[in-house]
Symmetry: C2
Subunit: 216 residues, 2 copies
DNA sequence: AGGAGAATAAAACATTTGTTTGAAACTGGC
DNA sequence: GCCAGTTTCAAACAAATGTTTTATTCTCCT
């Protein structure tokens, strides 16, 4: 099957990603997706069995593309410090969430992830094991390195730090409709990507330092 | 209308809050809500005009109860420091999001807020002006005080700090289904409320201090 | 060229779901 | 006790939507 005008299966996948991301699983109708993909409704069931099958395929594709195109070690030298590795981690996260080439920007596929966090679908479990858990382990390692190997902090410090860092990134992307209203000046968009990275990075470094010395 | 066995209008409101929170606007059906409230389906249209009207009423009630029962100055002395005011702010936020008496806990109404941030409904605008914007202004004031009046930081430092702090709280509540899986030890629940508060508070104090001295 | 299998299209089907209708039951005042 | 207004209920309606069916077209191999 040599692709010429973009094979229908991929057209469906692309349109579905956009529409599922924008409207959620239930609000997205297969007729809307079929229309956007310029495809007959029956083609969706033919290629993906049913609506859930299509959703699962979209989810897998979204994570695969996001994590392969923007790995957490993006643009990183071999000899980088742990602080720099944290910045790269955050930057990759924002790229996946906000850039057009990543998960398709706020209005696009990026919001699929936020929706899944809020109410995981059956298809999410596989994605969790394959992509999210290893990603989280990497972040924990970075934080541990920043705190210092001699400190040897336990998970009761590392995990909340990881959650706080990821939380900031996800929240920026997820709440962007509201942030745009409240703080028009610096909305979380592709253009402000580097500024957001820099801020969350510094804020998190400060947080990590404070937690390192705290007794909890 | 002296209430004896809880008037139907309130029964509907209570059931709707629970079900809208758990399943979202589209997934929640009038029939499910009517069943849970032990009410005829037509009663919903009679009392609230239509499904959207019911949703708007729920949203207004949720925010009203949350912000009146857990004000951001909860348990605060008159002479409290700005750091302590930040802790109270965060604690109130977690109470609203996680406690049973607040927005109804994770499984309950609390998730309505996360859903609204992700995809604001028409009814959200009123709530934004009435509750969220003033709340944000308060947080910005607190952060400004923490940085020090002589510093006199501009919104380009204050607003991102506010977003990062709120983001952590919202993310903990919103992503709790996934956090529970990844980090079973310390899931964001009502029992861990104080521990979460303490952590986010310290982390944020560290972040604010770092941002204060940064040039951006 | 021909035919088997894959892909696409149009229409119909079965459910679900928000809403309306018209009648019955209830409430408070005279 | 009766009546106007309010509230509740069962049933029906109309629109939307995921899926299936059946027929047609396309593709590639021999």
């Amino acid at each position: 099957m040599p692709e010429q005008t973009a094979p229908t299966k991929e057209r469906i996948l692309a349109a579905a990603g956009e529409i599922f991301g924008a409207k959620g699983f239930k609000d997205a109708t297969i007729r809307t997706i079929a229309l956007a993909a310029k495809v007959n409704v029956a083609a969706i069931n033919y290629h993906f069995r049913d609506k859930e099958g299509l959703y699962g395929a979209v989810l897998e594709e979204v994570f695969h593309i996001g994590f392969t195109r923007f790995p957490a070690t993006m643009d990183l030298e071999e000899s980088s410090s742990s602080e720099q590795r944290l910045r790269a981690f955050i930057r990759a996260m924002f790229h996946r969430l906000l850039s057009r080439e990543g998960w398709g920007g706020i209005a696009g596929r990026g919001r699929l992830i936020a929706r899944e966090l809020l109410a995981p679908s059956p298809a999410f479990e596989a994605v969790l094991d394959r992509y999210i858990k290893p990603h989280k382990d990497l972040l924990v390692t970075i934080i541990s390195d920043i705190m210092g190997t001699n400190t040897n902090p336990g998970p009761e410090k590392l995990m909340p730090c990881a959650i706080s860092i990821i939380g900031q990134c996800i929240y920026y992307a997820m709440a962007s409709p509201v942030i745009k209203i409240i703080y028009a000046g610096n909305a979380p968009t592709e253009e402000n990507l580097d500024r957001l990275t820099e801020f969350v990075w510094l804020f998190s470094l400060g947080g990590i330092a404070k937690i390192k010395d705290a007794t909890l």
